[in-house]
């Protein structure tokens, strides 16, 4: 286990609990998906792992307590991306933001790293555009690129499949699967179809607590969990090629 969270509590001002005694373990070089309805604690858990929010309890990454790990150390091994991460009203070019994402690394060929990542995600046409002039979908691609570019050991992405078009979802899914060869990836998603394509391991959250955790095929055998937390029906279906995916119906 490379990430071990024990009895994590995140409390917001006003006493609202974002996480309530959540404990879980994340496996190395796997894609773990956090699922659950709105306000179930997915984003809060990701933010706690990235030291973006204070917590009680313990979160160990590589045996080190996250809240006590210096930001300079954490920034070298971990990246986090959400639409809020890149939300400037200033005129910054995409290329400049990607360059900044590489600040934690030393002795790196910045141009080459930007070129490789933009080819991988098909965003070369966006590099000279201004961040504040991008559409939500284009911005999402930049958020993903900024998290992937430094090739960290841990990649945390909050709803990377939101806002992007259907054509880009397979690109993202394949990229994340490929990256899981060398990185441990944790993503929050609402989409069981995207999760079926992308994830190895699933964690389902409900009201800040862990309602389920297990391998994807274990969840497929246990759809009641999803039915219970989302309040809609789910089924497993086989698509051409023999792959099984979870889809909601209502």
């Amino acid at each position: 286990m490379v990430i071990k969270a024990s009895n994590v509590v995140v409390e917001y001002t006003g006493g609202l609990k974002g996480l309530n005694n959540a404990s879980l373990e994340i496996m190395e070089n796997k894609v773990t998906c956090l699922m659950g309805p709105n306000a179930s604690g997915k984003t809060t858990l990701l933010r706690a792992l990235a030291r973006l929010v204070g917590y009680r309890g313990s979160i160990l990454i590589d045996g080190r307590e996250v809240s006590k790990t210096p930001l300079t150390v954490l920034s070298r091994i971990l990246s986090y991306g959400s639409q809020q991460t890149i939300s400037t009203s200033l005129q910054l070019q995409v290329r400049e933001v990607l360059e900044m994402a590489l600040y934690p690394l030393k002795n790196i060929d910045v141009e080459e790293a930007i070129y490789n990542t933009s080819i991988e995600l098909g965003i070369t046409g966006l590099l000279d555009r201004y961040i504040n002039e991008l559409s939500s979908g284009e911005l999402q691609k930049i958020v993903i690129a900024s998290a992937l570019i430094k090739k960290p050991r841990y990649i945390l992405l909050d709803e990377p499949d939101a806002h992007i078009d259907t054509g880009f979802k397979p690109v993202l899914s394949k990229t994340l699967r490929k990256k899981s060869g060398s990185s441990t990836i944790i993503i929050a998603t609402h989409d069981p179809i995207f999760a079926s394509y992308t994830c190895d391991y699933i964690v389902v959250l409900r009201s800040g607590s862990i309602a389920f955790h297990g391998w994807l095929n274990e969840l497929m055998e246990n759809l009641d969990v999803l039915r219970e937390v989302y309040g809609v029906e789910f089924m497993v279906t086989e698509i051409p090629g023999g792959m099984r995916i979870i889809i909601p119906y209502y």
Partner: protein, 312 residues
């Protein structure tokens, strides 16, 4: 050669010609030469500090519409400058120290008000107008009292380098060195702060610390400038924008030195014009007045173009 490079070259050329003309003019009179040199160095140092202040404030507050003048630092420090001169009976070492207190007080008042309004870029401008009006009113009143003990008191309201002496230049060198050296360290962290606080954390920096240091450095250094030469508005606002245009980048490692450079050239040109051109027709017009004359329309342009894009 790009249009941007031509602009840069043009600025350099204008600066060089003026500088040669300025010094050549007084080369046979050592007294005048020393005064002129001291004045030119004061103007350039002030320009650098004001330009860097603009970069510190615009980057750390993620707001393209602010500088030390708009946020009320200038008028706040001026009130405390007058008070200090009145109490001590003249300009003393305590004057710049007291002005720093006033500058920071006004700055934090503006930030608290702006955050209470809505925290948007425009709310900072509105809060700044409120704080500025308040302190400007007091400083205008105090200027009449202060003039009895300090004859240049009213010049401070508009910013003038007529009082540029070597003593003041030495005092100016302290904020100049502090501002420039801290910018060397903070340029990269400030870049990440321009994206978002979260992004700054992810790239290994503490956004609150970076912002606090930037605001305090900007507040303190520009307050010292105000206590020495008075209010010089809009150059601090315009020069980072001009630097971004000239370099085609937002990286503060490029923008900060370029903003300092353009700011000092613009200020030098305004000072040159005020004592050469206008002095022939009327009498010497304070450089700050000319700076506002050029800068204010630029500010209105920024405000309008921003409204078109964001509608806030």
């Amino acid at each position: 050669m790009k249009q941007r490079d031509l602009w840069l070259l043009g600025l350099l050329l204008v600066f060089s010609i003026m500088l040669i003309y300025d010094l050549n003019d007084v080369q046979h009179n050592s007294l005048l030469f020393n005064y002129r040199l001291s004045r030119i160095l004061s103007v350039i140092s002030t320009g650098i500090i004001i330009g860097l202040t603009g970069v510190y404030l615009q980057s750390s507050l993620r707001n393209p519409l602010v500088d030390h003048y708009i946020l009320g630092i200038g008028s706040g420090s001026l009130v405390f400058t007058y008070l200090s001169i009145l109490i001590a009976g003249g300009f003393t070492l305590a004057t710049p120290l007291s002005s720093m207190l006033g500058g920071l007080l006004a700055l934090f008042l503006t930030i608290i008000l702006a955050e209470k309004l809505s925290g948007t870029a425009t709310s900072y401008v509105l809060a700044g107008i409120g704080v500025n009006s308040f302190f400007s009113g007091i400083s205008a009143l105090l200027s009449y009292l202060t003039i009895r003990v300090y004859p240049y008191a009213q010049l401070l309201l508009v910013g003038s380098f007529i009082v540029a002496t070597n003593d003041k230049l030495y005092m100016l060198s302290i904020p100049l060195v502090i501002s420039a050296s801290i910018m060397l360290i903070l340029a990269k962290p400030l870049n990440t702060l321009e994206v978002s606080d979260e992004f700054s954390v992810i790239t290994g920096f503490n956004p609150r610390v970076i912002r606090l240091i930037s605001i305090i450095v900007a507040g303190l250094t520009s307050s010292i400038v105000t206590s020495l030469y008075g209010l010089i508005g809009f150059i601090g606002l315009a020069s980072p924008h001009i630097a971004r245009y000239l370099s085609g980048r937002s990286d503060n490692r490029v923008v900060a030195p370029l903003a300092a450079f353009t700011s000092s050239i613009i200020l030098y040109v305004t000072d040159f014009t005020s004592r050469r051109l206008f002095a022939v027709i009327w009498s010497e017009i304070p450089a700050g007045a000319i700076a506002s004359l050029i800068g204010a329309p630029f500010f209105i342009y920024l405000l309008l173009s921003r409204r078109r894009i964001y509608g806030d």
